[in-house]
């Protein structure tokens, strides 16, 4: 894996700073984020909420523009969003008025246009939906299928664009634990077949270790940056049950946990949060009580 990494850098995130203008003045969300990702690599971004993980992903996607620094994909600078950097959004963001098939179709028709014939287009859409095991509910609308299924369609839509890099923003964050495990297995299976380059944002330490080749751990904001990078050299295909008793897996897992809960504890923020809540005597805390 390391040899492959050295071989070719697909994506180069270099010296990114991100400053947002807020009513209280400029807010530096990211400072000096530097990361190189090679072809076929699966990288997870992990960190506490508000550390700017999503901002990094949005800059790579082209949805945000970095204040300084930039992103280079395949030797070309990223200036705007595009299908070669397909995004899987946290809340599936399927168009509710289209069926699963039509949602993927919109992407396929837009990306491949006339380069695919009618039958090729149909085949390609169905192929991608089969890949995520959604062939049985192809013609259902988002409201008729479960959260996990919606996310599957979202992944199928992203894959159907044949992206050079797949960006996933907490793709399984809104799912229950069992569904999430299921989706992770599905994703590994797809990854085995397609060997995509992926950046995935996650809160889940197990998910990060299970899926990634590298885990990028981010420090807390403001001025968040990359704290540590952990290489995960576990054999593939990985099996969650076997890994549960694997010593290396346990070690890697505790490394991430140590980073998150010892080195980057969010003590200060939590106490601030509490003070705010108490001061405002908010309804939320009342409801919680």
């Amino acid at each position: 894996m390391n040899a492959q990494k050295a071989a070719s850098t697909l994506l180069d995130i270099s010296h990114i700073d991100m400053v947002f203008d807020t009513p209280k003045g400029p807010f530096t969300a990211l400072k000096g984020v530097d990361l190189k990702i090679s072809k076929g690599e699966f990288v997870s971004l992990i960190g506490h909420s508000g550390c700017g993980k999503s901002t990094v992903l949005n800059i790579v996607a082209g949805l945000y523009q970095a204040t300084t620094g930039g992103v280079v994909l395949n030797g070309k600078e990223v200036r705007e969003p595009g299908p070669e950097r397909a995004v899987v959004f946290q809340n599936h963001s399927l168009l509710p008025w289209l069926t699963a098939y039509q949602n993927v179709e919109l992407a396929v028709k837009q990306v491949f246009g006339r380069s695919k014939s009618k039958s090729e287009t149909k085949e390609w859409i169905e192929h991608n939906l089969e890949l995520v095991h959604m062939e049985h509910a192809m013609h259902k609308r988002p409201e008729e299928i479960s959260g996990g299924m919606k996310q599957r369609v979202g992944i199928a839509r992203a894959l159907s664009m044949q992206p050079e890099i797949l960006l996933m923003d907490e793709p399984f964050g809104a799912l229950d634990a069992l569904t999430r495990a299921h989706m992770q297995d599905s994703l590994m299976e797809i990854q085995q077949e397609l060997n995509n380059t992926v950046i995935m944002i996650t809160h889940d330490v197990d998910e990060a270790v299970l899926l990634s080749d590298r885990i990028v751990m981010m420090t807390n904001g403001p001025e968040a940056t990359i704290g540590e990078i952990l290489d995960i050299n576990l054999e593939r295909p990985r099996d969650r049950l076997a890994l549960a008793e694997d010593l290396e897996y346990t070690r890697l897992r505790s490394e991430v946990l140590k980073f998150l809960y010892e080195k980057q504890r969010k003590v200060e923020n939590i106490s601030k949060h509490k003070k705010k809540k108490e001061a405002s005597g908010s309804k939320k805390s009342f409801q919680a009580a």
Partner: protein, 350 residues
Amino acid sequence: MQARTELSAQGCLGERTNMTTETALANNNINKPIISESLKTTITKTFKTLLIPFAGILVFLMIWAGAASKIDTSLGKFPGPSAVWEQMGSLYEEHSAERVKEQAFYERQEKRIEARLAKDPDYVPKIRAYTGKETFPDQIFTSLITVLSGFVLAAVIAIPLGIAIGLNKTLNAAVNPVIQIFKPVSPLAWLPLVTMVVSAVYISPDPLVAKSFLNSMITVTLCCLWPMVINTSVGVSSIEKDLVNVSRVLRLPALKHVQKIVLPASIPMIFTGMRLSLGVAWMVLIAAEMLAQNPGLGKFVWDEFQNGSSNSLARIMVAVIVIGFIGFLLDRTMLQLQRFVSWDKAGTAS
């Protein structure tokens, strides 16, 4: 009346069967409760959907009849349900009689032309249209056509404008004050201005439509415009950000973005605006027709009022009921249309 009591008695029976289901089961009578269960649901359903509203109407009619008999006006007693029913029949008869006259007129004209042509083959016939009195159904038809054309014209202007405003914050900031100021103005205040402008601008030796029609239609348009623009623009500007991002990632061109993302996403809001404005437009149109003496139901009401015969009040009451029915039907039609077009079934529950 008798049928109703029978049915409601059945309704009670249905409910009682439900209560005795357990006893029936205890008697080992397994088939009976299943049958009575399904029978019970159908009966309660009919009871709720048909009988209760029917009873409501009946009570209303009774109160109306009771109150009407106690009100004396200079044109006689206030019409009760039976007087109104009678006038409904006579209005229809007048309509039929008018149609017979019209047909006779055209037949006479045709014969005259034929006779003339037989004498003088070079004669170029002049065909004259029948200019009889407009009957009640004619007025209904005129009002309907007016409200619908005004409404469609408003939609054609308002929906693209609303989309543009919703998409462009600068445009929104520029147009918003104008909309906010014109929105609360009753379209009737526009009526004199519209009348003057139409008669100044719309000059044609052979007009396609009457000026009065144009006046009423533009008034309706002015009335429909604001709610439609506002609802459309709010619908467009409140599209989920993720959906917009999907479009950006796909690099959908502007027109396709509107067609594939913006328009479908804001259809529920657009329809809310359309239903709202059609309801108001129908009310305003009647008032405008009364005020400007433009043909339509409003003119019918005003003419009857001026006429002041002993039947006038009953005939006005017929118009009131018909106006209500048409308003209701217009709203239902829009709702059905929305159900057919919109993906958001939750928004079309009522």
